[in-house]
């Protein structure tokens, strides 16, 4: 087994800061951390502490105000490169005009997969989350828990190296939250993807070996891995 410190770097953040407004609202301040292959990180902190902003920066969806971010293990920013990073959001993120299968297959199609292959993998991912019977449903016909499980399936379908999940269980009841969390952790363990999971749920956070804690935009680390 590769020692954690020897695992390949996937994402490296150095002194990242992100402010909004005319610099008056610092969401992230001087955050430095490294995500390595296979790492499973729980990103905790109170609301407004900068967890989502940090995840967005790591996903390449946002640009830091200062500091640097590199993706040595991903061959560059994952933005506009579908399937490189799997994203799971807190709120509804399925595309309304596409059914469940099409939603799951979309990142694969965007990445250049042939339609048949994309549908096959989408079906497999849907099976993995136990929702085969919902394949033809529209997003507005799903419950919150079902929709989030589909979002997880979409994130997993391309077998990405990194999964960034921003409060994936935040809007779910405890039973569904446990379901979704279990799915994520099982799938990540299965194909060895790195995971950063932002959550309020300390019980869930405890299941992950690494803890990054944020407070007031500042990142404090904990756990067996050094950041």
């Amino acid at each position: 087994m590769t020692a954690p410190s020897e695992a390949a770097e996937l994402i490296r953040c150095t002194g990242l800061s992100r402010t909004y407004g005319s610099g008056s609202v610092p969401a992230v301040r001087e955050a430095s951390c490294t995500l390595r292959a296979g790492m499973q990180v729980a990103l905790t902190g109170p609301s407004g502490s900068g967890k989502s902003t940090l995840l967005h920066l790591m996903a390449g969806l946002d640009t830091p105000t200062s500091g640097t971010i590199a993706w040595p293990g991903l061959d560059g920013s994952p933005f506009a490169r579908p399937g490189v990073v799997g994203l799971v959001f807190q709120g509804p993120s399925l595309l309304p005009p596409l059914d469940v299968t099409e939603n799951i297959a979309l990142p694969l199609l965007l990445a250049g997969y042939a339609e048949t292959q994309a549908r096959e993998r989408a079906g497999a991912a849907l099976h993995q989350v136990g929702l085969d019977e919902l394949a033809a449903r529209l997003p507005e016909e799903l419950s919150g828990g079902q929709a989030q499980r589909v979002a997880v399936a979409r994130a997993l379908a391309a077998r990405p190296n990194v999964i960034l999940a921003d409060e994936p269980t935040g809007q779910l009841d405890s039973a569904h939250a446990a379901q979704v969390a279990e799915l994520l952790l099982t799938a990540v363990a299965q194909f060895g993807a790195a995971l950063v999971l932002a959550t309020h749920d300390l019980t869930l956070a405890d299941r992950l070996p690494v803890r990054w804690e944020m407070a007031g935009g500042i990142l404090v680390t904990e756990g067996s891995y050094q950041c």
Binding site: S93, L95, P97
Partner: protein
């Protein structure tokens, strides 16, 4: 107020878009309504202006003309009354050197002093003095007479009277001047007398008072009256006022005089034209206003899902139905009033720019009335677009349902029952029923002074509009719901491997797309039908002028003159002339009936003048004219002649024509080949058309009656003036431009194109709005979807696949459906409105340039909507998601 501030701040664009739809509707209604009001007033004024003598009151045998004149003067609305003598003469004679020319019977008029000043339109001075002994232009041609020549006037039972010509005049109102006062139209003379002299009253009395005492049947006096022209603006009201005044005048005269009501007749035609203008407004203008209203509703509906979510949020937080409706009412009022004000301003601007008057020339009251009506319509549309859906949703939809974005499109009830097909069937039935009364829209019941409109005629096109709209909806829905494979194939060049997903997306959004496609199709139908109708109308106006004048310029020999075909070469040498076609004009007896006979060169006449199939029965124009070549003794006759003589094709018909060698009538055999109803320059009466070579050979007379002259592009009046200079006074020369002015009805006088100019502009704006506006708004509502796709890794090119595919489907399907329905409706409109055309068109005239502009601008609108959306999608997706 908070809600209103939020609406204006966050949804200002959408409010403006909805207001734009109302602006169109209000502007169109206000503009057309004001134009209609102004047109009616113009029609009345034009009708008044066309009449030289308002009343011609004929003193009855035994009545004292002076008493009749006095009685007329004393009653309103007569402002001037002068006596005019009419005396019949057996003929006029002029002697030049050793040649004596004589005419047949004619009329000699006695004009009192001041007549021309009082009735300036009755005589048109040509040469010589404007006073004294005047000779009509045609008579001068017949006698080869000019100023200074002596004319002998035959008087029945008396020695001829001698006069010296002082001037030559034209009688532009000869038909009404020589009418038989007090008889019905069918008993009027076919044509005014060719031979007319006008003498000063004193000289006339000197010559004809003795005749009057011997032969009172040959001499009469009319009192020519001018009325006050302070009449109502509406032609129908003006007609009523004048005819009632004429009735009162006759009652006052108690049988001493009969009133020939020229002004009433002109206003009667104008009121019929005014009704047609109203009909055209309904047929051509109202659909545009309805479309603008539909556009507004659809713009408002495009935000329906978001509005329902907002309503759901408010309801979940305790808002009552009343509060929700109040908020919707605020939005409706803002949109309605804003749109109405902008619409009225737009209408005023169009009026000022296109017609030089913000009210389009209508009176203040008329314009204000239409403005109020249009504003009320705008408010109704706003209520229908905003308030009614809000009321319906809060009653019928749960909070959960209101949060749905798309929903599963379900089959609407009218599709289940085939309402669209029933409407189209109904349209066909009504169209057929209307055709059975010859598409008579304006009904003139026998003996009744009122006109009425057959509103049943509206049913066919109205049902077609509704049926075509629903069928477009059905077909688009069918394509989007069942035609995913077709959609995927169509979008493959644009979306590549995403084409399947694109097709699925289009299919799920079919409710929105179907609305956009249907509105685009209807906008194209409106543009196409209006433009084709207008173009066909202008085409027929030219055809009508050609039918009257024959060609660009027509040179008519005086009767009795022997113009040889060689004169054609003289005419051809005149600058501006491109072709000359000689046409014989003879008179032939069939039985006891004398008719005009036109001898033509069948091989070349169709090049010289336009012959429509509608002019003939029993074959096309080409077929029947060719028959005259194949069978030189073939002849085309009127339907009346066929009935009178029980003719069948090929039957022998013997006519008596004058032999050019002996001057005697000779029998010339012909064979009946077909019916001719109309022919260029021919009278509205029975006549013959035959082969000129055959007629010349049989009668020994190759002389030509008229030459049809086409110009090389030089204005016809210019060429006509050159020909007058080259050929002298012995011929009559008329040109197409002058003929159009003379024959123009009051409907054409107000320039129908003025009405359609407004409509065509709106049609263009509607087509562009239906595409650009609706698509853009639809894309705006899907910003979140596009942002999520970007987050998932879609690049702008891949997003473009979705956008351009939607644009392609919308544009292609909408244009195809609109073009087909527009063609059908154009055919229907031209048939139903055939009363406007004179003569009816053989085929439609398609203004490809205008339709190309509409298609081009609509396509440009689509492209702009797509480009704008794709550019907006380049924005950082998180920024978009945060804003939403």
């Amino acid at each position: 107020m908070i809600w209103l501030r939020g609406l204006l701040g966050r949804r200002g664009g959408r409010l403006a878009a909805a207001g734009l739809g109302i602006t169109f509707a209000v502007a169109l209604l206000a503009a057309l309504g004001s134009f209609l009001g102004a047109s009616k007033a113009t029609m009345t004024q034009r009708a008044i202006g066309q009449v030289a003598v308002d009343w011609q009151v004929e003193a009855q045998p035994g009545a004292d003309p002076a008493a009749v004149q006095s009685a007329l003067r004393s009653g309103s609305p007569v402002t001037a009354a002068l006596p005019v003598g009419f005396a019949a003469t057996q003929g006029l004679t002029a002697t030049h050197a050793a040649t004596t020319l004589s005419t047949g019977s004619g009329m000699v008029l006695g004009l009192p002093p001041g007549y021309q000043a009082t009735f300036p339109g009755e005589l048109r001075h040509l040469t010589g003095s404007a006073e004294g002994v005047l000779i009509a232009q045609q008579t001068a041609a017949n006698l080869q007479a000019s100023v200074g020549d002596m004319i002998s006037i035959a008087r029945n039972g008396l020695p001829p009277a001698q006069v010296r010509v002082d001037g030559v005049v034209d009688l532009p109102q000869a038909d009404s001047l020589f009418q038989k006062v007090g008889v019905i139209a069918a008993a009027q003379p076919q044509a005014p007398p060719d031979n007319v002299l006008l003498l000063p009253a004193a000289q006339w009395h000197q010559f004809f008072d003795p005749l009057a005492s011997r032969r009172p049947d040959l001499v009469k006096t009319q009192i020519h009256a001018r009325l006050s022209h302070n009449l109502p603006a509406d032609p129908a009201a003006a007609f009523t006022a004048v005819t009632e005044a004429a009735g009162h005048a006759e009652a006052r005269l108690a049988g001493a005089g009969l009133v020939g009501d020229n002004l009433g007749a002109a206003l009667g035609a104008a009121r019929e034209d005014a009704l047609y203008a109203q009909i055209l407004f309904l047929f051509l203008g109202l659909p545009g206003a309805v479309l603008a209203g539909v556009l507004t509703v659809m713009i408002a509906n495009s935000a329906g899902p978001r509005r329902r979510r907002e309503q759901a949020l408010l309801r979940a937080r305790g808002a009552t139905a009343r509060q929700l409706l109040r908020l919707a009412a605020v939005e409706a009022l803002v949109v309605g009033f804003g749109g109405a004000v902008a619409g009225l301003a737009l209408a005023a601007g169009i009026g000022e720019a296109a017609f030089g008057s913000a009210s389009f020339g209508a009176s203040g009251g008329t314009a204000a009335g239409w403005a109020v009506g249009a504003t009320a319509t705008g408010l109704v549309i706003a209520a229908a677009a905003v308030l009614v859906p809000a009321w319906r949703d809060q009653r019928a939809i749960t909070v959960a349902d209101a949060r749905r974005v798309l929903g599963r499109p379900h089959r609407v009830w009218w599709m289940r029952y085939g309402v669209d097909l029933w409407l189209l069937l109904g349209s066909a039935v009504m169209f057929y029923v209307t055709s059975r009364n010859g598409y008579q829209l304006v009904l003139v019941p026998e003996g009744l002074p009122t006109l009425s409109v057959s509103y049943w005629a509206f049913a066919g096109p109205a049902l077609f509009w509704a049926g075509a709209a629903l069928l477009s909806w059905r077909l688009t829905d069918l394509l989007l719901s069942r035609g995913r494979r077709v959609l995927a194939r169509l979008s493959r060049p644009l979306a590549g491997s995403l084409s399947g997903t694109v097709a699925a997306s289009l299919s799920r959004q079919r409710r929105i797309l179907t609305r956009t496609v249907t509105l685009l199709a209807l906008a194209i139908v409106f543009a196409a039908s209006t433009a084709i109708f207008n173009s066909t109308y202008r085409q027929q106006a030219r055809v009508d002028a050609l039918l009257t004048n024959g060609a660009d310029v027509t040179v008519t020999e005086s009767s009795g003159a022997l113009a040889t075909p060689a004169l054609a070469q003289t005419i051809a040498r005149v600058p501006g002339v491109s072709s000359v076609e000689p046409v014989q004009h003879r008179f032939a007896y069939v039985g006891a009936d004398l008719q005009d006979l036109y001898g033509i060169r069948p091989a070349t006449v169709t090049d010289a003048t336009r012959l429509q199939d509608a002019y003939f029965t029993g074959g096309t124009a080409r077929q029947l004219i060719s028959a005259l070549t194949r069978n030189p003794d073939a002849i085309l006759v009127s339907a009346e002649t066929v009935r009178d003589f029980q003719l069948s094709p090929g039957d022998l018909l013997r006519l008596r024509l004058q032999d050019g060698r002996t001057g005697q009538l000779v029998m010339v055999p012909f064979h009946y080949a077909g019916i001719v109803k109309e022919f260029p320059t021919a009278p509205r009466d029975s006549f013959f058309v035959a082969n000129a070579s055959y007629v010349a050979a049989r009668t020994g007379n190759p002389s030509v009656g008229e030459f049809l002259v086409n110009t090389d592009g030089t204005a016809p009046p210019v060429v006509a003036a050159r020909l007058r200079g080259a050929l002298g006074p012995g011929v009559r020369i008329s040109d197409l431009t002058t003929s159009r002015q003379v024959i123009a009805s009051t409907l054409t006088a107000v320039d129908l194109s003025g009405l359609t100019r407004v409509e065509l502009s709106f049609a263009l704006a509607l087509a562009v709005s239906a595409t650009a506006l609706l698509l853009t708004l639809g894309f705006v509502e899907r910003r979140r979807t596009f942002a999520l796709a970007r987050v998932l890794g879609a690049n702008p090119r891949q997003l473009g696949g979705f956008v351009w595919s939607e644009v392609l489907v919308t544009g292609a399907v909408g244009t195809l459906l609109g073009a087909v329905a527009g063609w059908i409706l154009s055919q229907m409109l031209v048939k139903v409105l055939s009363g406007v055309f004179d003569p009816p068109p053989e085929h439609l005239s398609v203004p490809w340039a205008y339709l190309g502009v509409v298609a081009g601008l609509a396509a440009l609108g689509l492209v702009i909507a797509a480009v704008t959306t794709i550019r907006a999608a380049r924005r950082p997706p998180l920024t978009v998601l945060r804003e939403l």
